[in-house]
């Protein structure tokens, strides 16, 4: 017999053979009774069965010795409420079991970690740390991150983490669905967007993965009613690397699979590991999945590999596979930048750019250089980056004013130079601010009035992240972010939500406690944080406390750092507190001392401080001057008046050249100057303001107050559907003031011109928009050279409003100039997308001017270039095709025109393009061609007329808002509509469109 076919237990020879239970007992060493012994002697099959059972028992005993410890003394992990079913995997980090939760019958994964040195305080600490880590991991709730349900510590000290059971395959073993390589690639990218979202969610909760690789990303099938098989990518082992202390201390080496490690990991810079480390690894994973190979030739020793990762450029993705789109190559390249500050600043940003690619939109990875260059052009040379200005520029970039991609040798050189020049401090701050702003601004085209609302939402998120240790890995960044958070908030002025300002205070106080634990009683970081805390207390109107804290910060700074801009910043804050405490004279004295000291500092360090101190002193004097009975003799009052005027002029000049026009401090300075003007109408300052506002009703002071209130006020309210009006005119007046004070060529006015462009766009004002663009191009050309990229950007932006405004011939000249700038860029550095787009714009301008033959050649060149660069299935290519179609129709090539226009229409439909003017152009192109070759009278003709009407009507409505009759193609559109209405016998429509066209 065998143990697999046991007979019944028998105690007598000749009786049935021994049962399996008896054989088992004997195998475990139980002495057989006499009868059983006799049976064994007589029965060969039972003896054989016993022999096998003894070998089995030996094996089982050895197995228990080996793994019994991990399994626990009596079958651990014994987890009340769970039935542990089987081992899923076993590795150095521990064993993972599949188990079923009894109450819910759901499958769970149970990860059982190796125990520490039991009974030691180290083990206790380690366990406590691990438990805290699990607590943080358990907060992650995202469909693309494996869910952690709970953790338990077993009696033997082992930590057990119970988590979601994912029944999936690792990413590198997954075949994305699709009929062909293109479809599969898109499916992969869609899945990757979800992965990025999951990773970003973890980052927001302060969890960094540190070991992202395809094996840690599972693709689970999700059941659905539809035919398609949706998938759910799930990132596993989040934070496990940290939990199990896998990261190595060996300099130059790293744990896990080295191939996915970031340059900072490869360099052994553990302090530099943060969320951007994961962004890099995501880039490598995407590279690997797209190319099937790693981005580096991983030859040599591990140290060699580390060096390659840290220093050598990755092999370009398209060198691996030329069929991969350039946009995707740019996206992967940006995620894998060696310098962290040049990577996407969050996993979400990476995911969003992939989404943009999937939607056929221009990707940010390729626009980076233009945005960066322009931003730096406008901001860097003025010294300190104003946070509010940064927010503004982020909106501009996000809003599409600067969307074209530029990458020339010049840009590279400038970027390299700027990188070197950028202080580490600024990059950390900029990174954090950029990240929070990106989160705060979800819409691709956010409207400016939402700014505060959106940024407030960003504050809320940032506060959450700070208080849940999102930056705990890097205390310096943690502190900087806390201060930036407090700083942005307190700088916004106006009414503040009580809850938010409370967050600010709590956050800073918590940061202070940590800093003191780290640095002791005094440290520059502590002084910095105290300073911010005093700012918050000032806003909260707790003046006595604010004064105490501000003094402490000021004294600490003086002791630790010495005199200088930082100390004066504290003195200014204290002066503001004193002002608010109704002690103006003390404040003025303090400001006077500060101004003396600031005079010795370089301008770029002192500009804003001098401006603030000057306004503060002027404020005190203004209050005195404004009293009915002046306190002093006529001569004294006259002196005071002169001093006040001087201070205000200094403040205005310095603010206008270092801060954006809409900054609250700039506006406050203008308002103070207007107040002075009303008290001293004969003064020079009053005359200066009079040159701008003099002709307005109610006098200069009232007019300025109205305008300042309008610009301030529009920033607050809820989302407005209708565009606010009047702000363009206000900004134009402020531009004039800026020109009077700084001169017409000062680069600071470019910032104001951008503000005007933005406001004019929202108000559908064409002329101010393009004149501001052209003016900006001139100033930038003088400052940085005629062929500078910023000039190119400004010129390109001027062309569409010029065309809409009936300035086709001038627009063609401007577009030609932009094309010449492109031509001056060496081939290898030229950005094909931008070059193609400029050519398209030039062709459009020529076509609108009636030069159809020339336009047609230009269009063809543009389409060729765009197709080479982004492919035919792209909204810019489609727009060029549609515009060419109009030209072909005008040239009598109606059939070709209609075919091309219909192709473009299919593309924009498939891509879901939402820009109304673009869609309007494409629809118009189709209808315009159709109407030139209408079928003879009959059902086909009626159907064609119906289709043309449906295409033209929404286009015409869009263009009525965007441009009006000055745009020749809008007039063509209306003529087409009148023709359709006439031929269809729709008399009411004929009357309607004739009225719009200006015909009776």
């Amino acid at each position: 017999m065998s143990a697999e076919a046991p007979g019944q237990t028998g105690d007598e020879p000749g009786s049935p053979c021994l049962g399996a239970e008896m054989i088992d007992r004997l195998a475990l060493g139980r002495e057989p009774s006499g009868i059983i012994a006799e049976h064994l002697l007589a029965c060969a099959s039972c003896r054989a069965a016993l022999h096998v059972a003894q070998e089995d028992a030996e094996f089982a005993q050895r197995a228990r010795q080996l793994v019994g410890e991990e399994l626990g003394p009596v079958g651990a992990p014994r987890l009340p409420g769970y039935v542990v079913q089987r081992v899923v995997s076993a590795g150095s980090q521990g064993v993972v079991y599949r188990a079923v939760q009894e109450s819910t019958h759901r499958n769970v994964a149970v990860k059982c970690f190796e125990p520490g040195e039991s009974g030691t305080s180290g083990a206790t600490r380690q366990r406590a740390r691990a438990e805290r880590e699990v607590e943080i991991l358990a907060r992650l709730r995202h469909s693309n991150v494996v869910g952690i349900y709970e953790s338990r510590v077993l009696a033997d000290g082992r930590l057990v983490v119970i988590m979601e059971y994912v029944d999936g395959v690792p990413l590198d073993q997954w075949t994305p669905p699709g009929q062909n390589a293109g479809e599969k690639r898109r499916a992969l990218l869609r899945a990757f967007v979800s992965i990025c979202q999951g990773v970003h969610h973890a980052h927001l909760n302060g969890v960094i993965h540190r070991d992202l690789k395809p094996q840690n990303i599972l693709i689970a099938a999700e059941s659905s009613g539809s035919g398609a098989v949706p998938v759910r990518p799930v990132v596993v082992d989040f934070g496990i690397a940290r939990l199990t202390s896998v990261s190595t201390t060996m300099t130059g080496d790293f744990a896990g699979t080295p191939a996915y490690a970031s340059p900072e990991q490869a360099a052994g810079s553990h302090d530099a590991i943060d969320a951007l480390t994961d962004v890099y690894s995501l880039g490598v994973v995407l590279y690997r999945m797209l190319a099937g190979k790693m981005p580096y030739e991983l030859t040599g020793s591990i140290l060699d590999i580390a060096r390659k990762i840290a220093e050598e450029p990755a092999i370009p993705l398209r060198q691996r596979d030329a069929s991969i789109a350039r946009d995707i190559e740019a996206i992967v390249d940006r995620a894998m930048r060696k310098q962290k500050e040049r990577r996407y600043q969050s996993a979400a940003a990476l995911g969003r750019d992939i989404e943009r690619y999937l939607d056929g939109q221009p990707v940010e990875a390729r626009a980076e250089s233009a945005a960066y260059v322009l931003r730096r052009t406008l901001m860097v040379n003025r010294g300190r980056v104003a946070l509010a200005a940064l927010a503004f520029l982020a909106l501009l970039v996000g809003g599409g004013v600067v969307y074209s991609s530029l990458s020339s040798a010049e840009a590279s050189r400038r970027l390299a130079a700027e990188r070197q020049a950028q202080a580490r401090l600024e990059s950390a701050r900029a990174r954090a601010v950029t990240e929070v702003l990106r989160e705060a601004i979800p819409a691709p085209d956010p409207s400016l009035p939402q700014l505060k609302l959106l940024v407030s939402a960003g504050f809320g998120r940032l506060f959450y992240r700070l208080e849940f240790n999102a930056f705990a890995d890097d205390p310096e960044v943690d502190q900087q972010v806390r201060r930036i958070w407090g700083g942005i908030y307190t700088s916004f002025g106006g009414e503040k939500a009580a809850a938010l300002i409370e967050y600010s205070e709590v956050s800073l106080r918590n940061g202070l406690v940590r800093l003191r634990l780290t640095h002791g009683r005094e440290h520059p970081e502590i002084a910095e944080t105290l300073h911010q805390l005093a700012s918050v207390l000032l806003v909260r109107r707790r003046y006595a406390e604010a004064e105490r804290v501000a003094r402490k910060a000021m004294e600490m700074r003086l002791r630790l750092i010495g005199p200088g801009a930082t100390f004066e910043e504290s003195r200014l804050l204290l002066a503001k507190v004193l002002m608010a405490s109704k002690r103006p004279q003390e404040a003025a004295d303090l400001a006077r001392e500060a101004l003396k000291a600031l005079a010795a500092l370089p301008e770029n360090e002192s500009d804003r401080l001098i401006a603030s101190m000057s306004v503060l002193r002027a404020r005190v004097l203004l209050d005195e001057l404004g009293r009915d009975v002046p306190l002093g003799t006529v001569a004294e009052v006259s002196d005071q008046s002169q001093v006040c005027e001087g201070l205000l002029r200094v403040a205005l000049t310095r603010r206008l050249r270092s801060l954006p026009i809409r900054d609250s401090e700039t506006l406050a300075s203008i308002a103070a100057a207007a107040e002075f003007a009303s008290l001293r109408p004969e003064s020079e300052l009053s005359k200066l303001l009079g040159q701008v506002w003099g002709s307005e009703a109610g006098g200069v002071a009232d007019a300025v107050a109205r305008d300042v209130a309008m610009v301030r006020g529009t920033d607050d309210g809820p989302h407005e559907e209708s565009a606010p009006t009047g702000r363009t005119a206000v900004f134009q007046k402020m531009l004039k003031l800026q020109e009077l004070l700084l001169g017409p060529d000062d680069p600071a006015i470019v910032n104001t011109l951008l503000t005007i462009m933005r406001a004019a766009e929202r108000e559908f004002m064409l002329t101010p928009r393009w004149t501001a663009s052209l003016r900006a191009a001139d100033v930038l050309a003088r400052e940085y050279g005629a062929n500078d990229l910023s000039v190119l950007t400004a010129l390109t932006q001027a062309v569409p409003p010029m065309l809409f405004d009936g300035e086709a011939e001038r627009a063609a000249e401007v577009a030609a100039r932009a094309c010449r700038i492109h031509a001056s860029i060496p081939d290898e550095s030229r950005d094909e997308l931008l070059a193609g787009n400029s050519e398209r714009v030039l062709a459009w301008a020529l076509a609108v001017s009636g030069k159809h033959v020339e336009a047609s050649e230009r269009y063809q060149a543009a389409i060729d270039r765009l197709t080479r660069c982004v492919g035919e299935h792209h909204h810019t290519t489609a727009l060029a095709q549609a515009q060419l179609a109009v030209t072909l129709t005008e040239l009598g090539q109606v059939r070709e025109g209609e075919a091309l226009a219909r192709r473009a229409l299919r593309t924009v439909d498939e891509l879901g393009v939402s820009a109304l003017d673009q869609v309007g152009h494409v629809r118009f192109a189709v209808a315009h061609a159709m109407l030139k070759k209408l079928p003879p009278e009959g059902p086909e003709r009626r159907a064609a007329l119906d289709e043309a009407r449906e295409l033209l009507t929404p286009s015409a409505e869009t263009y009525a808002r965007v441009c009006g009759l000055r745009y020749p193609w809008y007039r063509l559109m209306l003529d087409d509509l009148i023709m359709v209405a006439t031929l269809s016998g729709r008399d009411a429509d004929v009357v309607r469109w004739r009225a719009v066209r200006g015909q009776e």
């Binding site: 228990r64 080996l66 380690q126």
Partner: protein, 210 residues
């Protein structure tokens, strides 16, 4: 017969080492890593390296191994591969312990039991610890493979786990598996035999040297 666990997919050490010369061969590196890292880690812990540092020792040992191997410093005629890795892991562990002693002052240590008062017996003891750690890793992999290959149903595997590995009494285990005691024995016996074969195969793959 189902395939072996992926870490033993490259059947022999000889072939693994040949493949390792091609340093772009990432799967091979993963296999070496998966094979030896847990063994080195276990060895380090057993000879006195604190829990928190055992991973570092494993990492350093593997890095040293790859470096030496690619520099051509491994001579197959002078000893088995596992002995060579063992000796690297041993030295790295001792260095870690010494470093710790130096940092923490007197009274902190471990590794005295493997200090070579009697070199031959110390080497035997070390080899025995190594083998035990190797067997532990192999057993874990064999069990995982058995689960993955799907030739036995969940209840059969659970019966083995409960009664053979976790020492749950037969009646209780049978009840948990919803089977009779006799069925439990049959199930356990089937799994044990299959595992024994797998462990033998894996051990041979692990230890085969040119």
């Amino acid at each position: 017969m189902p395939e072996l666990d992926p870490i033993f997919a490259t059947r022999t050490t000889t072939r693994l080492l040949d493949a390792l010369r091609d340093s772009s061969n990432e799967p091979v590196w993963s296999q070496i890593d998966a094979r030896y890292r847990p063994v080195i880690r276990g060895l380090a812990r057993r000879i006195g390296v604190p829990e928190g540092e055992a991973d570092d020792v494993a990492q350093q040992s593997l890095a040293e191994f790859v470096r030496c191997f690619r520099d051509g410093r491994y001579d197959r005629t002078k000893g088995r591969l596992s002995s060579w890795i063992l000796s690297i892991a041993h030295h790295t562990s001792l260095a870690a312990i010494r470093r710790r002693r130096r940092d923490a002052g007197p009274g902190v240590g471990g590794a005295d039991d493997v200090d070579p008062a009697d070199p031959a017996s110390a080497e035997r003891a070390l080899r025995s610890v190594w083998n035990e750690e190797r067997d532990r890793v192999i057993l874990h992999h064999a069990m995982a493979t058995l689960h993955d290959e799907g030739s036995m149903d969940e209840r059969t595997l659970l019966a083995f786990e409960l009664s053979a590995l976790r020492g749950v009494p037969a009646t209780e285990a049978a009840s948990q598996c919803q089977m009779t005691v006799e069925q439990l024995y049959v199930a356990r016996s089937r799994v044990t035999r299959r595992l024994r074969v797998m462990v033998r195969e894996m051990t041979s793959a692990f230890e085969e040297d040119a």
